[in-house]
């Protein structure tokens, strides 16, 4: 059926529907839920599956998000004293664990959900580029399979949130397709064999602790690279796509976001959570580090999180309408590309503006404002390895002067500083190594035709509210006035070991009373 013959009506399709959502404690899941409840309050019900923590029940985890996450500010502001009732009327919290079959839900809960849920949106995932393979497989791969099987069992459509970067180590135009059983470099893929190979227990049992972990990661990365994936994250997400697509009678829609960054509008401009892709790079550029080893002509595919929420909604609505096109990529590179060269310059300009407004310290602040970062694919004269080697050399020279009666004290101080700098540079070098496939080696252009086709089929009155199209996104204004200040407020403090800012708890605080909790949780 052509979409043009059957225009998309987001509110009508979602009205009264029951969605089961995983990953609500994550960046996309949280924004999507808050945004959905704001824009489509006629949604029937959203059941969120949350894993308990040692000192926190799933309900407590959700209540904390609802009460203090800035992401829920618009909802708290618009419903005020009725906020808790509004949420209770629309959200159920279920204890679960995506690593387990049926996502860790008991038979009674599954029974209760059967025939009642219209779609399962599986957002849960680990975005650690060098995570421990066993855990990454359990969450990213097995978790996806469990979500797919649960969807089939309860008779719901399955929306699997993946990543554009399952494309692997390739450059060029990336279509919204998946050829099951074939890896990014064309190798025939046996997913079960891959999963067996990634099983933590099978790797070098003679090693323990940190050494075992490092070896497991090394083996997994090697295997990922052999198949054309740059790291364990894309490898496990890639395997997940193949698994869910190969499920008998699958009813899956795959949604692949690119790099999700600060919101443009919802919940408010600049909001971000956690340390996403740009955070460490932006932080790095705001230090004395001036040469980012990125290819200036390659595209940095960034999508504001609220636009991603719109994209995910459109794909869900298409699936619910029975019009899913299978794979939807949420990206900017095909219709409004921003190159790394531009992004690095914008980041330097953003640092400049930010420090002008918020102040910066001494000569270092002055230098940061006036020495712009540049892209240098070969590292440039001030590349991290070179500066690191220089620090090592100075440390050695200082060490040789250690016993000198005149210079000994100064030499020891220099050595201490150089050793500390060398360690920091080592960490930065390691971080850049992980990023290299995405910033220097591959130039991705992710097609977003499917989402934009859905957008075109929206009535004019709905297009701005629900449509996905980044053609008009002004990168300069976004990066300088939204992204960088947002990162500085919400993400960079985490890199310094601080906590993410939270709002004061709402009044009255959102709680689930015992009746609701028992009905919803069925532990």
């Amino acid at each position: 059926m052509k979409l043009a013959d059957n225009p998309l009506d987001v509110r009508k399709t979602l009205s009264g529907k029951h969605i089961l959502l995983t990953g609500v404690t994550g960046f996309l899941g949280k924004v999507w839920l808050s945004w959905l409840l704001t824009e489509v309050p006629e949604i029937g019900r959203v059941t969120v599956v949350i894993r308990p923590r040692p000192a926190q029940t799933p309900i407590q985890r959700f209540a904390r998000i609802a009460d203090t996450s800035p992401c829920f500010r618009p909802l708290r502001a618009s419903h005020q004293k009725d906020y808790a009732d509004f949420l209770r009327a629309r959200v159920d919290v279920v204890r679960g664990n995506v690593e387990k079959p049926n996502m860790g839900m008991g038979p009674a809960v599954v029974e209760r959900l059967t025939g009642q849920v219209d779609a399962v949106i599986h957002c849960a995932g680990l975005t650690d580029f060098e995570g421990v393979p066993g855990k990454m497989v359990a969450v990213n791969t097995s978790g996806a399979l469990h979500a797919a099987r649960l969807s089939a069992r309860i008779g719901a459509k399955h929306i699997h949130v993946s990543t554009c970067y399952v494309a692997g180590n390739v450059s060029g135009h990336m279509t919204e397709t998946l050829t099951t059983g074939i890896s990014p470099n064309g190798t025939v893929l046996d997913v079960d064999a891959e999963l067996a190979g990634l099983d933590a227990d099978t790797v070098l049992p003679q090693l323990t602790g940190r050494e075992l972990k490092a070896e497991q990661i090394r083996v997994a990365v090697k295997r990922a690279e052999a198949l054309g994936w740059p790291n364990v994250y894309t490898y496990t997400k890639g395997l997940a796509e193949h698994l869910v697509m190969a499920e008998p009678g699958n009813n899956v829609t795959i949604v692949r976001p690119a790099i999700l960054e600060c919101a443009t509008d919802y919940p408010f401009a600049g909001w971000n959570e956690g340390i996403n892709t740009s955070g460490p790079l932006s932080w790095l550029i705001a230090t004395a580090f001036r040469h980012l080893p990125a290819n200036p002509d390659f595209v940095f595919d960034v999508v504001p999180i609220d636009d991603a929420a719109r994209g995910l909604t459109l794909a869900t609505v298409a699936a619910l309408d029975g019009n899913s096109l299978g794979v939807y990529q949420i990206a900017s590179s095909d219709h409004n590309p921003m190159t790394f060269g531009r992004c690095i310059e914008l980041n330097g300009l953003a640092v400049r503006k930010y420090t002008r407004i918020h102040g910066s310290e001494g000569w270092q602040g002055f230098l940061l404002r006036h020495m712009d970062p540049v892209s240098a694919p070969d590292g440039g004269p001030l590349s991290v390895p070179r500066v690191r080697r220089f620090a090592r050399f100075l440390s050695k020279v200082a060490h040789n002067l250690d016993e000198d009666p005149m210079l000994g004290q100064a030499a020891r101080a220099v050595k201490e500083r150089m050793d500390s700098a060398e360690r920091s540079l080592g960490r930065i070098e390691e971080m850049l190594r992980v990023y290299t496939p995405f910033i220097r080696d591959n130039d991705y252009r992710f097609a977003t035709d499917n989402l934009r086709e859905l957008t075109a089929s929206l009535p004019d009155s709905d297009r701005e509210r629900f449509g996905y199209d980044l053609s008009d996104l002004d990168w300069c204004s976004y990066w300088v006035d939204v992204e960088y200040p947002g990162l500085m407020h919400w993400s960079i403090p985490l890199l310094h070991g601080n906590k993410a800012p939270e709002d004061p708890a709402s009044e009255p605080a959102f709680t689930m009373d015992q009746t609701t909790a028992v009905k919803a949780v069925s532990l």
Binding site: R342, E345, L346, G348, L349, A350, R352, K353, R356, H370, M371, D372, V374, W475, C476, V480
Partner: protein, 215 residues
């Protein structure tokens, strides 16, 4: 038809010329080597101002060739806030306030490129801005100024055409200039005024009995 107050920004409202802005922007390029080359080019353009202000303006901004539009936008805002705003002239601001109180539409005419001049409009409460625009191709400026180039003398015909297009009653309007080149603009309005004039404009103002405001 509405009366307006035409302010030739450089000299009446601001003490700094657009050559300064070109030099400042050149000195804040992305790379050190580019900064030095561009600063050198602006320095070479400066003496042209002795013969032709228009040629100097064009030559100085052409030194910015290859600068990204992003950089021009962000630096333009910074230049206004950090440099230019501090160089506003109290006498000009007083005259501007008087014109606003009289209900006149405020028209700013500036040599500065739009990336800088746009910040004056809101800050000074003006309704119209006529300024230079740098040509941008593929996200970078070519260094060329788009026509009409605001520099040196503005032709009386151009001023009259603009006034007709925008429903301005020139005879009821005021004009404020500071340099000899501004005489053509001032002679096109009903209420000309020389503000801190240079020698050439002072002579013209005296000859034509225009009011002169020095402080």
């Amino acid at each position: 038809m509405q009366p307006a107050a035409f302010f030739r920004v450089e000299g009446t409202l601001l003490s700094k010329s657009s050559l300064m802005a070109a030099a400042w922007t050149a000195g804040n390029g992305q790379q050190i080597r580019g900064r030095l080359a561009r600063l050198g080019a602006v320095a070479l353009a400066a003496p042209l101002a002795l013969r032709s202000k228009g040629a100097a303006t064009q030559a100085s901004w052409s030194a910015l060739r290859g600068t990204s539009e992003d950089r021009l936008r962000v630096l333009g805002e910074e230049y206004w806030h950090s440099v230019l705003k501090k160089s506003t002239l109290p006498v000009g601001l007083r005259l501007l306030k008087q014109a606003q109180d009289a209900g006149q539409r405020i028209v700013l005419i500036s040599d500065h490129p739009h990336c800088i001049a746009q910040h004056m409009t809101a800050a000074l409460g003006a309704q119209s801005l006529l300024c230079n625009h740098l040509e941008v191709v593929d996200g970078e400026t070519t260094g060329a100024l788009l026509k009409p180039i605001i520099s040196g003398p503005l032709s009386g015909q151009w001023t009259r055409d603009w006034a007709i297009q925008h429903g301005i009653d020139l005879l009821a309007s005021g004009g404020y200039g500071a340099r000899g080149d501004d005489a053509v603009l001032l002679s096109a309005v009903g209420h000309p005024c020389a503000v801190r004039p240079d020698n050439a404009l002072r002579r013209t103002a005296t000859d034509l009995s225009w009011p002169v405001v020095d402080a």
